[in-house]
Symmetry: C2
Subunit: 74 residues, 2 copies
DNA sequence: GAAAAATTCACATTATAGTGTGAAAAATGA
DNA sequence: TCATTTTTCACACTATAATGTGAATTTTTC
C-alpha cells in the first residue's frame, strides 16, 4: 500500500463521513497542513500520525502475509 | 495496530524466515539501526520505511473499516 | 453571482526519524 | 570453552516530517 493510496483512502473515508479536513485534523489532534499533505501523497507520514487519523475515521491497519509468498526470499 | 505491535510482527516474521537484522536491513535498503529501533518499538517509523521492510518479508499492509463502527462520529 | 466555507499552497521553524560509527553485551555454534 | 555472529546501545549528524501562519484558490451554498 503506497503512501498515495493511503492518502486517497483517508480522503474517501473522510468525504464519506462528511467531515472537513479542519474537523478531522482537530479530532485526530494533528495539523491541518499535515492532513492536507497526506491526502495528496505529498509527505511520508509516520505511523503514529496515520494511526491517529484512521482511529477517528473508524479504520484499522492490518499486516498480513501475501499469499503469493510463503517464503519471499527463496 | 500500535508501533510496538508492528515491530513485533516484523521481528517474528524475520525470525521465521531465519534472517538477521543485518540481512534484512540491507535487503530493505535501510540502516540496521533503524530496523533495530523499529523491532523494539523505540521509534515512530515512516510509512515508507515500513513498506520497504514488509515488502522484503512478504507482508502487506491493509486498511479496513472496523466492523464496530460504521459511522465512528455518531 | 456573491458570501461563506473549505482546500491548496508557500514559507519559516521545530521536532524527530533515519543514518553512520564504533563498542559493549548477548546469543549461537563448533 | 571460546570464537564468531548477532543484537543492543550511545552519540553525533543529516534529512525531513510536523507544525503555525497567512494568503490565494477552489468549492459549496444561499
Amino acid at each position: 500500500m503506497l503512501i498515495s493510496e493511503i492518502g486517497n483512502r483517508i480522503k474517501l473515508r473522510r468525504k464519506a463521513l462528511r467531515i472537513t479536513q479542519s474537523d478531522l485534523s482537530q479530532l485526530a489532534n494533528i495539523s491541518i497542513n499535515t492532513l492536507y499533505k497526506i491526502e495528496r501523497g505529498q509527505t511520508n507520514p509516520t505511523i503514529d500520525i496515520i494511526e491517529k487519523i484512521i482511529a477517528v475515521l473508524g479504520l484499522e491497519m492490518k499486516l498480513s502475509v501475501k499469499e503469493s509468498s510463503i517464503n519471499p526470499l527463496s
